[in-house]
Amino acid sequence: MFSKIFGSATKPATVTILPADISFIVEPKKTVLLSALDQNIKYPHYCRVGSCGTCKSKLISGQVRELTDKSYTLSNEDIQAGYILACQSVPKTDLVLEVPKLRVE
């Protein structure tokens, strides 16, 4: 029921980042960015509040709930191409994201 009201998953989601092919778990209600940072993954980011666009990521599969209006930050082309802001996105399902700047060291 709660997942209906809040539109977010009640169980952890697995997020996979391409092309680096890293996976990590996002706990319910947490954003992709903060979960990644908590697990010491160097996810590109800067402002954490959805205003700079540094964390933009292409949504390849899955669904997210977005905390803020990304059209303040992303261009039309980006939005149409399916980009989301990792710092403002809470997974509703497992996700596959494309983040070219994220590399494994």
């Binding site: 800067y46 402002c47 509040v49 959805g50 205003s51 303040y72 930050t73 039309n76 939005i79 403002q88």
Partner: protein, 397 residues
């Protein structure tokens, strides 16, 4: 339970509650009590700030719900103070929203009698109190809440608070502009080297409104929504201010409206004076990470307590998503020499401000700037029109 109680009963919480209560009485009793309130705001705060020392504790460890109760109390107080002041502006037996009649029948408190005795100087003093209270508490909480971009309640409450000082669009420019452009020429809200507060206030105010307009219309265009619609948050923000003006109109006609805008704009100037001291003279290469060194930090206890940790500005700008009670003190960041409440008055006297801040800015150049910023420093110095800076060779050393 004990942990809960001990988190509620801290010196900070008690001081703030006592203060809130005393202002509630002073602003409600009106009349000569306005003088007392003005005295507290203008002198007592600054004096306490000077002797109150520093608060270098990190992260109060206060539970979020408690800190949020504190924060969300402020909007009610702000609206109450405004309402009561508007009520006193009325004449004769006029009774805005029936407040006077209600209080008289239920508590015996006779606002009509107070109004009949209130003099013009008292009302003017009350207006000054209201402006500084709106600016000091309303916009500080408005700022705090509009940073919580993920919460609709926070954003709307915050915008209503910022609308008290006629600029709800601050919520747009500050988060999507200032936090990204800080320290660069593109930021209207960074005070330039050599610029006085009197030059800064209009430049920053109008610069931010223009910038907010561009950001907002850009967003609407991307969403395919019309600029001329209620989706436009510039318009909804102005409507909020007009709604307040409407209440003052109901209370006291056009006189009320004029007084409202005088108070509101005075408050806005106060808010911009705070903006002025926060980043004076600091430069940053556009597009690079905002670091704690890009703000003048201040850990003065009284300023931090009263202004919801806004003076802990270094951490705020480095991590804009942190709520106020998680802001740390960053003792190694560039420091403001006095508390905010003192610095504002210093800023009003430009020669004094220059004398105090220019050595600090030069020290910033030597100790905090990185080589990539040196060319910007040289340029900022050249444009400053001030001997202190033009003859400075700090970056070259």
């Amino acid at each position: 339970m004990r942990a809960f109680l001990s988190s509620m009963v801290t010196p900070r919480a008690l001081a703030l509650s006592a203060l809130a209560l005393s202002f509630f009485f002073m602003m409600t009793l009106g009349g000569p009590f306005y003088y007392l309130a003005a005295f507290v705001i203008t002198s007592v705060f600054s004096l306490l700030d000077m002797v109150g020392g520093q608060d270098n504790s990190d992260n109060d460890g206060k539970p979020w719900y408690y800190a949020n109760i504190q924060a969300y109390q402020i909007p009610f107080a702000m609206l109450w103070f405004g309402l009561i002041y508007a009520w006193y502006l009325g004449t004769g037996m006029s009774d805005l929203f029936g407040v006077g009649g209600f209080l008289k029948t239920h508590t015996g408190f006779d606002m009509f009698a107070i109004r009949a005795r209130t003099t013009a100087p008292e009302l003017i003093t009350g207006g000054y109190c209201l402006a500084t209270i709106w600016a000091g508490f309303g916009t500080t909480i408005g700022h705090e809440l509009t940073h919580r971009t993920w919460s609709k309640v926070a954003i709307i409450t915050g915008r209503w608070m910022l609308a008290l000082t006629s600029d709800a669009s601050f919520s747009i420019e500050h988060v999507y502009g200032h936090h990204l452009t800080l320290g660069t020429p593109a930021d209207p809200a960074t005070a330039r080297r050599g610029e006085s507060v009197y030059h800064f206030i209009p430049r920053s105010t109008f610069g931010q409104i223009i910038s907010a307009w561009h950001i907002e219309t850009g967003r609407l265009a991307r969403k395919g929504q019309s600029i001329w619609s209620l989706h436009n948050r510039m318009f909804t923000g102005w409507a909020m201010t007009l709604a307040y003006a409407g209440v003052f109109y109901m209370a006291a006609g056009w006189k009320g409206v004029i007084i409202f805008f005088a108070i509101s704009w005075f408050g806005k100037c106060y808010l911009e004076a705070i903006n002025y001291i926060e980043h004076y003279g600091i430069v940053r290469v556009a597009g690079t990470q905002v670091e704690p060194r890009h703000s003048w930090n201040c850990n003065q206890r009284v300023s931090s307590w009263l202004l919801f940790n806004l003076p802990r500005h270094s951490h705020h700008h480095a991590m804009g998503d942190k709520p106020y009670w998680e802001l740390n003190c960053y003792p190694d960041a560039p420091m403001m020499p006095h508390g905010y409440l003192t610095m504002i008055y210093i800023a009003l006297i430009p020669p004094l401000f220059r004398k105090i801040m220019h050595p600090r800015v030069l020290d910033w150049d030597r100790r905090y700037a990185v080589p990539a910023e040196y060319p910007l420093i040289v340029e900022a110095n050249r444009r400053s029109n001030t001997a202190d800076f033009i003859n400075n060779v700090a970056p070259a050393e």
